[in-house]
């Protein structure tokens, strides 16, 4: 086996491991769905697993791990947009807790 072939196979092995990890994490989400926990707990757990899945896909499938500059560019913009959207939650809870039918 040549050096190039070894490198090629090594690369695919890493990709396969990442794929299996993402598949397993997706499976964990399905297990969480059947746990006897509250909706908010379920939401937090599932979202945490989804973030890990997404991070793995971004870093290894989309090769962001090889380009730190682009990684930070993507993360900063995306996180800013996601955080900027959170302003509405108080109003959402007001609708459930502050209206007559909530009591």
């Amino acid at each position: 086996m040549t050096t190039a072939e070894t490198h090629k196979n090594g690369g695919m092995t890493k990709d396969l491991i990442v794929y299996v990890c993402i598949l397993a994490l997706a499976g964990i989400q399905f297990v969480i769905a059947y746990q006897d926990i509250s909706a908010s707990q379920m939401f937090v757990r599932m979202l945490s697993v989804a973030v890990i899945e997404a991070a793995l896909a971004l870093l290894f499938f989309m090769d962001l791990a090889k380009n730190r500059g682009l990684l930070w560019f993507f993360v900063i913009f995306t996180v800013f947009v996601l955080l900027a959207m959170q302003y509405g939650w108080t109003d959402s809870f007001r609708l459930t807790d502050g209206v007559p039918w909530a009591k």
Binding site: A33, F43, M46, E53, A57, L70, M85, D91
Partner: protein, 211 residues
């Protein structure tokens, strides 16, 4: 310092400035950078949709939980995740110059995309059969139907566009009009579609599972 030295230095500094101004951002080719910018913008679109869904679900009393079985969505997830792997194999093969393998795996990815779309449509038909439409829902708030069909519909639209892009780029790569970079850029889009599904499944399907 002589006049000649100054002019040489002037030339050097002008060249450096030009190089800096024309150098690709983050050492990424322009086409690939355009795809990354599209992905960032599309992330905001999906985040907006999912946020609106979260807001509505939280603020609506008696939100329905209509999904009895996870089999279909589990198969759909497995199909889409596997399609990401086959896309990756296609991109790696193209990088290594194995054109036939790259083309073959691009087409396999497109087939997985078509299978995903068929399973998705089958699920939609089942829900429509139960009376769920964009403006109607037999279990309560009609907002469920509008949210469900909007979010999954937007994703399905992306999958459909991705399948068309995969076939078009794959065929042009095969005849030599496109190169490995073009295949990689299409791959980036496909992985993004997969990535969005990782959030759609828990939020839209699994949180609405009937126990």
């Amino acid at each position: 310092m002589s006049q000649a030295d100054l002019s040489i230095h002037g030339q050097v500094s002008r060249t450096s400035a030009t190089e800096i101004m024309t150098a690709p951002a983050f050492s990424v080719p322009a086409k690939k950078m355009a795809m990354w910018l599209f992905i960032i913008a599309d992330t905001a679109t999906f985040a907006g949709c999912l946020f609106a869904y979260g807001f509505t679900r939280n603020a609506t009393p008696n939100w329905p939980r209509p999904f009895d079985s996870i089999t279909n969505v589990a198969v759909m997830t497995a199909v889409l995740l596997t399609s990401s792997l086959t896309m990756l194999i296609a991109v790696r093969s193209a990088e290594n110059g194995d054109k036939a393998k790259a083309f073959r795996f691009t087409m396999i990815t497109a087939v997985f995309g078509i299978i995903f779309a068929i399973l998705h449509l089958r699920e939609w038909m089942e829900l429509v059969g139960k009376g769920v439409t964009l403006f109607h829902n037999p279990w309560g708030t009609p907002l469920f139907g509008s949210m469900f069909f909007s979010i999954t519909g937007l994703h399905l639209l992306h999958v459909t566009g991705g399948v068309i892009a995969l076939i078009a780029v794959g065929l042009r790569y095969q005849v030599g009009r496109y190169n490995a970079d073009d295949l990689e850029i299409t791959g980036l889009y496909w992985h993004f579609v997969d990535l969005v599904w990782m959030f759609v499944v828990p939020l839209v399907y699994l949180l609405n599972l009937s126990h």
